[in-house]
Amino acid sequence: MESMHSWPGEITVGEPDLTVELCGVRLRNPLVLAAGILGTGAELLARVAESGAGMVTTKSCGPAPREGHPNPTVLDWGHGLINAVGLANPGVDQEVKTIARAKDLLSPLEVPLVASIFAGTVEGFAEVAQKVDEAQPDFIELNISCPNLAAEMGRPFACDTGDAARVTASVRQVTTRPIIVKLSPNVTDIASVARSVEHAGADAIAAINTLGPGMIIDVHAGRPILANKVGGVSGPAIRPIAVRCVYDIYQAVEIPIIGTGGVSDGRDALEMIMAGATAVGVGSAVRYRGAEVFGAILEEMRALMTSVGYGSLVELRGIAQV
């Protein structure tokens, strides 16, 4: 008899509207494949798009090829993942071919592509951005959680408002494409970093990158398991932190936010949107639910929205701001 109950939302005619607009680009739904997950090949990106993603992001590429760290590089520790892949990538000159091919495969699906980049210097970011720009991605995302080679102890760009702004401004000078800046949660005040990259010309914020770094020690071996000893923590365990970061950023800036961090199901995605996100990144959930997770989350969002009576995502954005 449970299913016979009539909820207010059930009188809504038609499907809830899941489309969103991000920096003038229409997304058929808010789910974005997060950087570093399944973004290594054009066919794989297309597969994620076919499984339902509204937008996909390539794995971060830098100025030169990098092998990355030796294994173990990724672990499932029970409440999330921890990884230290070490920015393995084929280098921007090779990556532009992947981006161009991915664009060809994604265009008929009407799924925009985000090219994620990193570099060790401010100038390096501009150089990589300029090359990537020619492959015509829909967005360029700046992964500023990597070490700034010029800073003391290689402090990540994302951990200093000035460094984050300088990277953003240097890329702003070489591209007219919308720039997403991905922020690190490993700061005292993420809202001030968001404000500073907005002033420097960012078109959108992605938040958050992995938390930490963290460490897992094997008690039989008596040593850290990751070859790099420490790694970025992601997955369900960090979701409350990601939600709080998005909430704080929403209050601080006018530009849209891609809320990322531990989103695994439709409820989690709606939570991000209520915190203030325009789009929602999905990464670690691919480990738990496969590449098909995007279609599954969309179904859950539709069902939940229908049952509560929500008609569109636009009306939900930021409603938890109290």
Binding site: L38, E43, D76, D218, A221
Partner: protein, 237 residues
Amino acid sequence: MLPRPMTIARIDQPTRKVKALTLHGRLPAQPGQFVMVWMPGLNEKPFSLVDDDPVTLAVASVGPFSARLHELEVGDRLWLRGPFGHGFDIVGEYALLVGGGYGVAPLAFLASRTIGARRKVAVIGAATGDELFFEHRLAGAGCEVVLVTEDCSAGEGGVCTDVAERLLQDETFDVVYGCGPEGMLETLEQLCSELGIPGQLSKEAYMRCAMGICGSCERDGLLICRDGPVFPVGPGT
């Protein structure tokens, strides 16, 4: 699923280059699935299972990591993550198993599980006779074993796909299981398509996460670690 320490119970050395490590304990798995073997301070690499109870691995000494595994002794520990991936689906009554080189390892596990089959023929090939291994395991699991060597030092001369082709043309098989070098798998795939016989081939790739997220093992949009390592070929694929 963090790496789990397991102790070596027994070491066999079927050839100069191959050791079979039998560990204390079990790790329920499907034939064709693999584990990530971690040696602290060294590396972590994928190995297909030869058995899951007790856990058994075949280690060919081909690089620094496997060389280190060859130095281990009974009582030493190694760490396993897994099992991972999609293994062999056990189908058909007349099965042809084709193993090239070290590819025989997961087939030995498969043979031990295909007890319902009416006929199992295992063709195993290597460059020379002293590189062939697990022929007794396969025979013990009820396989008719055909040996093939490139230098004619044991069994028939040639490569295992030559013999597989002849058997598939002359006799009745309803499934082909294969594991081995890439070229051999390509030939088998072609044979399965041409002769209209469903095949299941186990592929190899460099791996990092083993969980289908990092994309390191991607080929043409498929993830060897999660969609595979065993992939269907032939009719309907």
